[in-house]
Assembly symmetry: C2
Homo-oligomer: 337 residues x 2
């Protein structure tokens, strides 16, 4: 409430539609009387003319200082020779776990009802090592790295998450029948951690089978923990079950209690600046940030206002079949508060 | 028909339920008067006491000689130190493309209608290189290999398949925003081949986005071509859309016109020998084998009999919610011929 000292939080609006949806979050947070003092930084795939860089040291330091932040989409150009800023942030800030809840939004119908999944993705290594090499012309290799350190901490995080969020089961997703050493190490870490949580059901599921079962019956799963690339794939699949990345939040977890919430959809350059973007994923990511800050009352208020606005159906952006602008949709959420 | 010289085809019944479902195929083929002379070989994850081996040279040679075969499931034990026989066959026989059609079966309802997808998977390299290495204790690496040779031939196969099967579009699935060199080479090969097929629409889709779109709207896709691991994942996802691996066939394509059709589901040891297995995937794989042999009339007869039996719903195995045994279901198909 307005009587408490505001909490400083970093804000990276990002590329494309990023600034518009970030504006929506600011408005909704203000309307909900959330005492956040946004420390806004320009981080973009386009070089900032003022600093002549994509990402400044000050921007990284802001997250390290504030320990909490919210991030919009940043474009990842294919084959442009520089690394995705999304990944740079994850690596530089040592954001080791990416938590993506996927749940059916009441009132927004898809083929699936009552989806309620949490994917927890290792966020720093695996196929994302950046190690690639042309052996000879026409023969190239990429190196996937799995470490005990990164596997243990994401496994620990997943089981702790399950326990503290009243979840019943953790499924470790892998392809250890093919990658016996790398995925084998990942599983071994999950096995070790699982032993410390006898009250949480634990299973190991091969990724191909997991995908088949997810589309057949997502209720078979609860919390899923996995190496980086599988997490990338499965979290998008799960998002698809409930309507897509425009509706699903995420939060990156780092050491020392750092949390950077993130909308993981694209920057949608085609509709950027047109007041057409759906801010839901960034808003729900903002809600995850508030829960991380233990501002639970305001988190739930905002969450309900978003859900109710979508469920009511009167104000929806074009991607959800409506005709509302970003600002109209945002105002409707504020009115629901 | 019975007046033609029988065509010799290799049969690997495989592990678990393999022998039972292979028996079903033999019966249906006989009932349909298909002139196949099965050259049956014992290839199994259990060592053959007669030869003291899993896989003999004679079994491999049989496929090379006959150039056509049908394969049941073989178990892939995790962490048993020996490589999956499924993969050994693909590598030793140089089966470079794995074709998996996924289509809605009339009369078998899932959440999706009118699915009609073809996944074409590179079958010899990628994450399946078998190259893994412990760098130091707690740090392991797996090496993914992509070659121009393997990428070109699977891309060629995919576009030729699209053209000869009246398909409109080929989507190349990748993660070149992360693996710029390996997946980049794969895409470059697809680009090159695509140029030779101006009549076929061509697009590149990042694997995470592809999975999201497949569960939201599979009709966006037609033929999908991709590196090995993505093919493993996406083909299972697609199978899930239409009911699972028990209902979807596959065929492995090699050099010199070799084709080894394959049921890619598991060996289901829990129900093995109990006359409960669903032979549909192996039967439909047999149909793919017949089409490969240009025995189109009999292929369509058998295909219709399978589809009609399932659609009628009177005889279904337990996995499809029925109470029929394998032999009852098989007899029902024969009666439909
Ligand atoms: C944009 C891309 C590099 C990124 C990833 O692969 O992790 C995205 O898909 C995500 O999931 O955040
Ligand atoms: C059993 C396993 C090794 C195999 C694979 O990963 O290719 C299977 O999933 C398949 O798709 O045929």
């Amino acid at each position: 409430s307005s009587s408490t000292t505001p909490i400083k939080a970093t804000l990276f609006p990002g590329d494309g539609i990023g600034p518009e949806i970030a504006e929506s979050v600011k408005q909704v947070f203000t309307a909900a009387d959330v005492a956040i003092d946004w420390d806004e930084h320009y981080v973009s795939t386009e070089v900032d003319p003022r600093t002549n860089s994509f990402l400044t040291w000050e921007s990284l330091q802001s997250v390290l200082d504030n320990k909490v932040g919210l991030k919009g989409p940043m474009a990842t150009p294919i084959g442009k020779g520089h690394r995705s800023l999304n990944l740079t942030l994850r690596k530089e800030l040592n954001l080791y776990a990416n938590v993506r809840p996927c749940y059916s939004l009441p009132g927004y119908k898809t083929r699936y009802d009552d989806v309620d999944l949490i994917t927890i993705r290792e966020n720093t290594e695996g196929e994302y090592s950046g190690l690639e090499h042309q052996v000879v012309k026409g023969v190239v290799e990429s190196i996937k790295i799995i470490t005990r350190k990164a596997s243990m901490r994401v496994a620990e995080y997943a089981f702790l998450y399950a326990k503290t969020h009243g979840r019943k089961k953790v499924s470790a997703i892998h392809k250890a029948n093919i990658m016996q050493k790398t995925d084998g190490l990942f599983l071994q870490c999950c096995d070790e951690v699982a032993e410390k949580y006898p009250e949480i059901e634990y299973e190991k599921v091969v990724i191909d089978n997991c995908c088949m079962m997810l589309v057949k019956n997502p209720a078979l799963f609860d919390v899923l923990v996995m190496p980086n690339l599988y997490g990338d794939i499965i979290s998008d699949l799960c998002a698809g079950l409930v309507g897509g990345l425009g509706l699903t939040p995420s939060c990156n977890i780092g050491e020392d209690g750092i949390a950077l919430a993130e909308a993981v959809h694209g920057s949608a350059p085609d509709i950027a600046g047109k007041n057409l973007a759906n801010p839901t994923a960034l808003l729900l990511s903002g809600v995850m940030m508030l829960r991380h800050l233990k501002l639970n009352k305001q988190a739930e208020q905002i969450h309900s206002a978003i859900i109710n606005t979508i469920a009511e159906g009167k104000y929806r952006t074009a991607d959800l079949g409506g005709t509302s602008t970003t600002t109209e949709f945002t105002k409707a959420i504020c009115d629901h508060l």
